[in-house]
């Protein structure tokens, strides 16, 4: 039945010549990214920041959805909570950004644990729907607490003038924030994928009973994965909120964010380290391109592309690229054959 799920990650061995080339290229790319603000236009930095942000969100989703196999359709709840924590603390309590960011992360973790304990017992569609409902419900709660959150009218972080507690970092600043967070997320994912924790998640993904029989405390591992996912997502939301200055519940808890996280992770390749990044980079540039060139048709095209990708690349770009390298072809039709009735 469900043949295509997460694939394990083959990490290139740094000792091989190819490995060194990779390390070198990676370092060069990294250096380029660090130096980029000097070379690139401000608005493009902003676009890149957005790409990094989505890559981080997709990586965070990948921990619970890709590694542990629990398809969360409500990860945006952490994003929103992170954003609102920062906004509320800065706007209402006069905090500066950095301590607020720390609290936002903590809120993400705490909420993931509280929500995860009951909900991670559900599987499959039920888990997906439950998480989605939590996110939608949370949005309504934020809307209904106007004294704290500004309600539907949104809340504005003091970013300019005398009221600003932390000076606004500007496009370059947020570029670096998102870049650093992405690197952190990558490091975390890499670390997780090679750790006992990562192995336990992959075991849970493939067979929860088997995992438990090997001594893996599945409940604890799932909740921990959810918490880690929540942490990264909340931090992303916190930075995003500061960048936006004014945030609204409809945007910060938008189901669209969740869907994009999932789409990016799935199209890139779930359960891999670079899949979500590849997915995020690819889709963000694609949607940007479509938006600029097909002013009114782009959303329709985007929908069509998602449909085609799900049908023909169910294992994600990364896995298909591997397949292409080893067999010199991608078996689009075999993928279809495997999944159709």
């Amino acid at each position: 039945m469900a043949e295509s799920a997460a694939r394990s990650t083959r990490i290139p061995q740094p000792s091989s010549p190819a490995g060194w080339i990779l390390v070198g290229l990676g370092a060069a790319g990294f250096a380029y990214l660090l130096y980029a603000p000097v070379l690139l236009l401000e608005s493009f930095l902003r676009t890149l920041g957005g790409v990094f942000m989505f890559a981080t969100l997709a990586l965070a989703w990948n921990i619970i959805g890709g590694f542990a196999g629990y398809a969360s359709f409500g990860n945006v709840v952490f994003f929103g909570l992170g954003g609102y924590t920062v906004a509320t603390l800065m706007a209402k309590a006069g905090w500066t950004f950095w301590p607020a960011l720390v609290v936002a992360g903590a809120v993400g973790v705490l909420f993931a644990v509280l929500m995860g304990l009951p909900i991670l017992r559900l599987r499959g569609h039920y888990f997906a729907i439950a998480t989605l409902s939590v996110a939608e419900g949370m949005r309504e709660i934020v809307v209904n607490m106007p004294s704290l959150t500004g309600g539907g009218a949104g809340i504005t972080i003091p970013a300019v003038g005398l009221e600003a507690t932390t000076s606004y970092p500007g496009n370059t600043g947020f570029y670096y924030f998102f870049l650093i967070l992405l690197l952190v997320a990558l490091a975390v994912t890499w670390r997780v994928s090679r750790s006992r924790f990562g192995y336990s998640l992959r075991a849970i993904h493939q067979d929860e009973d088997s995992a438990a029989a090997l001594g893996i405390n599945t409940t604890r591992a799932k909740v921990a994965a959810f918490a880690l996912s929540g942490l990264l997502t909340a931090l992303t939301g916190a930075i995003y909120a500061f960048q936006q200055v004014t945030i609204y519940p409809n945007r910060l808890f938008s189901i669209e964010f969740t869907v994009l996280m999932v789409v990016m992770a799935v199209i890139g390749g779930t359960g891999t380290i670079f899949g979500p990044v590849v997915g995020a980079v690819g889709l963000q540039f694609l949607s940007e391109y479509l938006r600029q060139n097909y002013l009114e048709l782009h959303t329709v095209l985007f929908g069509a592309i998602i449909i085609l990708a799900v049908i023909f690349l169910p294992n994600g770009i990364v896995e298909s690229a591997r397949e292409l390298r080893s067999t010199k072809r991608i078996r689009f039709l075999d993928n279809v054959k495997a999944n159709r009735l």
Partner: protein, 294 residues
């Protein structure tokens, strides 16, 4: 007291309409195990079909409802057979994503064709109402309610009495064994999806008669369908009716005693609670096999 009574009637009538919106969604989820995010888009599509027929050819919306249902049936069959069927055995997020892509395509396609303007199907009978003292029962909503109950009932009868209905049930319970009985599962899956889409089309027409709609509303109907399907138990037709009415009543009552903007939050709260406490829904699933495990 009158206020409470009025709220109850509002909730009941609205709940009937919800049931019609959600019943097809529940059917598809229960039988072919696909959470169809594009369901709301089918509802809206149905509304546009009836609206267009009324506007362009002066066809009465009740007749338009039939046309919308038939058209959606055909579309639903084709979409399942040609698209969704290709990933039917893939992990759940695949089908979720696929139907999400479909939703994007449909909703934005509708915006391109019909613009994002709010529409409504004007009828002579939608606005009047029965009065009992200060309590009113609007005809349009009563009609929608009656039709919803009728269609749900017909569907439930179809499922339990007809040969095809039985085949759908059987396929939902055990696909392999159903095929051993000579049931063409591919056809049954497509048929189930088609019925679901047809019901969505009918529901859409009623939505258009009693209220306003535009393509962007699709998501709201899908979200409500989640709640209704889970409340009622997946694939349980009478359950969907009950789920719709419970949702309608909860919303109406909470609207009376709480801030109006909390209505949705309460709907989701109920859903989460049911998922955790009783994942088989209020009326239980028609199938013995439990899919929600703990």
């Amino acid at each position: 007291m009158e206020q409470f009574l009025q709220a109850t009637i509002n909730g009941l009538l609205q709940g009937g309409l919800y049931a019609l919106v959600g019943v097809g969604f529940s059917l598809v989820w229960g039988v072919i195990h696909v959470v169809n995010i594009a369901h709301g888009a089918f509802v809206i599509l149905g509304a546009y079909v009836a609206w267009k027929l009324d506007g362009a050819f002066g066809i009465d919306p009740l007749l338009g409802l039939v046309v919308a249902a038939v058209l959606l049936f055909v579309i639903g069959y084709a979409v399942q057979r040609g698209v969704i069927n290709l990933v039917i055995n893939a992990p759940i997020w695949m089908t979720l994503l696929l139907t999400f892509g479909l939703e994007l395509l449909l909703v934005n396609g509708l915006i391109l064709i019909f613009t994002g303007d709010y529409r409504s199907i004007a009828t002579s009978y939608a606005s009047g109402g029965l009065s009992f003292g200060d309590v009113r029962i609007p005809y349009g909503r009563l009609l929608a309610f009656g039709l919803a109950v009728l269609l749900t009932g017909l569907l439930a009868m179809f499922m339990s009495r007809s040969k095809t209905g039985q085949a759908i049930n059987a396929t939902g319970m055990d696909r392999v064994t159903a095929r051993l009985m000579g049931i063409n599962a591919r056809h049954i899956y497509a048929l189930t999806f088609a019925i679901s889409a047809a019901l969505a089309g009918a529901a859409g027409t009623m939505v258009g008669i009693v209220g306003t709609f535009n393509p962007v509303d699709a998501g709201v109907f899908t979200l409500r369908s989640f709640v209704i399907a889970v409340l009622g138990g997946l694939g349980n037709m009478w359950g969907a009716l009950a789920g719709g009415i419970v949702l309608g009543l909860v919303e109406a009552w909470s609207g009376q005693y709480l801030s109006g903007t909390l209505i949705h939050a309460i709907g989701f709260g109920v859903l989460i609670l049911v998922l955790i406490v009783r994942p088989t829904g209020l009326l239980g699933r028609p199938y013995s096999e439990a899919r929600a495990e703990t």
